[in-house]
């Protein structure tokens, strides 16, 4: 009963968050110096042309009126028209969401696929050479900036070994998968470093927990104790860590999309900021905010599924 209520009401929490985000992005993008109309027209700008564009996008209205228009549009599910691309921002985001979604999803899956075996090996051989090696690798993974790591991966796997394409998104499912490997790996390496350290710590705590001792006292072999009792229990805190890191992950996609020339939302956002394309920046920021809130919501559901003691 409670769980149903949670699933119904929790998305309502989105509203105040979105309202806050809308104000912040609205004000921030407009406080950057530069006029979108002037930037759009470049050297050919005449005062009349600028005024025409400003009127067309409502930029000549007072700020609060512009904000109210923005809110009104939001309630109608619209986010205005891009000044640069001259098309609807919702449609623009719809076109760009694919690469970003596959980047985030692919990175998370890849990061988990890297972190679980590494953390397992480290925790079960605590203090050994394996453990130290894994710790050094994961510390290094934390230290490498994504843009550098991405370029290094390109040099190694694309230029030297010609295994993966240098950049772009590709056509068709298989080709896209092929194109997404390096970008996902770039994000996943850093993310898996955080996950490995966290997971190793909770596995070590669970390995010496009372219920693991009790399981051994029932004659369960060490492997069974680990997979059936230690692992399920140590995943719970890691799910939450993943949810907390999702903001960082979304920020990371901006850099990685740029490095690999992926036509995603991060790239859209960056170009939007440079061209002062107010509507695009607002739209993408709202979409990212929604995604962050929804992912945390999902993580809460997952945590409750993994740990029956959690009340949501």
């Amino acid at each position: 009963m409670d769980r149903f209520r949670f699933v119904l009401y929790r998305p309502l929490q989105l509203l105040p968050v979105l309202l806050g985000i809308s104000i912040i992005t609205f004000v921030l993008i407009r406080s950057i110096p530069g006029d979108p109309a002037r930037l759009l027209l470049g050297t050919k700008s005449t005062p009349e042309a600028i005024a025409r564009i400003r009127a067309q996008f409502g930029l000549d209205e007072p700020l609060w009126v512009q904000y109210l228009y923005f809110l009104k549009n939001l309630f109608n599910g619209e986010m205005g028209t891009s000044i640069l691309y001259r098309i609807d921002v919702v449609r623009l985001i719809g076109e760009r969401i694919g690469p970003t979604l596959s980047l985030v999803l692919g990175s998370v899956i890849l990061a988990i696929a890297i972190a679980v075996p590494l953390a397992t090996a480290a925790a079960r051989n605590r203090g050994s050479l394996i453990d130290h090696t894994i710790r050094i690798i994961s510390t290094a993974g934390l230290g490498f900036p994504a843009f550098w790591l991405g370029i290094m991966l390109i040099i190694l796997f694309s230029v030297k070994f010609d295994m993966f394409p240098v950049s772009g998104y590709g056509d068709g499912f298989a080709d896209r998968l092929h194109h997404m490997v390096l970008p996902c790996l770039t994000v996943a390496l850093a993310l898996s470093a955080v996950l490995t350290r966290n997971l190793r710590a909770s596995m070590i705590a669970e390995l010496s927990s009372d219920h693991a001792t009790a399981a051994r006292a029932r004659g369960l072999p060490e492997g069974m104790v680990f997979w059936r009792h230690v692992l399920p229990n140590s995943l719970v805190p890691t799910i939450n860590l993943l949810a907390v890191n999702i903001g960082w992950l979304i920020g990371g996609t901006v850099v990685v999309e740029t490095v690999f020339s992926l036509p995603g939302m991060g790239q859209l956002l960056v170009r939007g900021i440079f061209t002062r394309d107010y509507m695009v920046v607002q739209g993408v920021a709202m979409a990212f905010a929604c995604a962050a809130v929804l992912i945390n919501f999902l993580a809460d559901i997952l945590t409750a599924a993994a740990d029956p003691r959690v009340k949501i």
């Binding site: 010496s208 927990s209 009372d210 219920h211 001792t213 009790a214 399981a215 051994r216 006292a217 029932r218 004659g219 369960l220 072999p221 069974m224 059936r228 009792h229 399920p232 229990n233 719970v236 993994a306 740990d307 029956p308 003691r309």
Partner: protein, 331 residues
């Protein structure tokens, strides 16, 4: 007389810490016959839990190891048994229950599945058979509506119910010996009595042998057949319950009995034993109880007393009381 089910001889356990070796348990001997309930009594840190972990071969190998002696269980020496052999003994032939059932049950696995796990592992039952047997076990330990409760998680059980579930779990494969490590310490008094009654009942029905670790002599008086008292890693007295409780020989046992609160006693401060139990890094010389003993003589400081048999099966290690009693018996 047939050989006892469990016979521990001169078991010693060492701790390794910063290259130093500390004797945690020294030359402990006791035996448990089939259907016997032995109370293992002592303060925290006296080595009772470590002794029982050792007999399950569940000592944390990094820090503790068995340094001598033997543990004979059903004719097999568990000290030299292989890990594979031990896995067929743990859970299948020796069961164990713990002080805090809340933390010793896996919080994210349903009670029924935890019990079924042992049945599938040791008795090669099919999941369907295991499920039916699990419900039967829960019924036997007195859990109402076992069909439904088997699907509960541990946090949905009360403290007493959790300990009952823990007992069902330990007895799933009908072991011959049950080690109960302070099974009632975390429970309130009425529930405590129920759990102890359940243990005695299981002994009567199944001929189960039980080692009951406790620091509560009241529990011993209610349930045990015999007692072994441990102090600072050594056994200082052991014998049939009636003899030890009625005529304690070791001054430590006497003091423990004197410390028991009784309903008839006049209100006031409970008596206590002055001083602190010693730690393994600073065991006192000679008899380890001498700094806290009011009857200590010079000899107690310099030499450790051996266990002396004063009456059939009743032994004590004391330089003062044991010879005196022997003289009395002789007279």
């Amino acid at each position: 007389m047939s050989a006892p089910l469990l016979d521990i001889r001169d078991l010693s356990i060492e701790a390794h810490k910063d290259g130093e070796r500390l004797g945690i348990v020294e030359r402990v001997s006791f035996s448990v016959a089939t259907g016997e309930i032995l109370g293992l009594v002592g303060e925290s840190g006296s080595g009772k839990t470590v002794t029982c972990r050792a007999l399950m071969r569940l000592l944390p190998t990094r820090s503790l190891r068995i340094s001598g002696g033997k543990i004979e269980f059903a004719g097999r020496n568990l000290v030299t048994a292989s890990e594979a052999e031990m896995r067929h003994i743990r859970g299948a032939r020796i069961g164990m229950i713990f002080q805090n059932p809340a933390s010793h049950l896996d919080p994210v696995m349903r009670i029924g599945r935890q019990i079924g796990e042992s049945l599938v592992l040791h008795l090669q039952m099919s999941p369907r058979e295991a499920k039916a047997q699990t419900i039967e076990l829960l019924r036997q330990v007195g859990i109402p509506d076992p069909q439904r409760r088997a699907d509960d998680f541990p946090h949905q059980f009360s403290g007493g119910m959790r300990q009952r579930a823990m007992i069902a779990l330990a007895l799933a494969c009908s072991p011959e010996l049950l080690i109960a490590d302070e099974p009632t310490t975390a429970l309130d008094v009425t529930v405590q009595a129920q759990i102890l009654r359940l243990l005695v009942e299981l002994r009567d029905k199944r001929g189960l042998s039980i080692i009951l670790i406790t620091h509560d002599l009241g529990v011993v008086a209610q349930t045990c057949d015999s007692v072994a008292v441990m102090y600072a890693g050594r056994i200082c007295e052991k014998g049939p319950k009636r003899d030890v409780l009625a005529e304690p020989l070791h001054p430590y046992t006497s003091r423990l009995i004197a410390c028991q609160p009784s309903a008839s006693a006049e209100a006031g401060l409970l008596p206590s034993i002055p001083g602190q139990p010693p730690s393994p890094s600073a065991w006192p010389s000679g008899c380890r109880f001498h700094p806290r003993c009011e009857r200590a003589i010079g000899l107690c400081r310099s030499s450790a007393p051996e266990l002396v048999t004063v009456r059939s099966n009743h032994v004590a290690a004391c330089h003062v009381t044991a010879p005196a009693r022997l003289a009395d018996e002789a007279a």
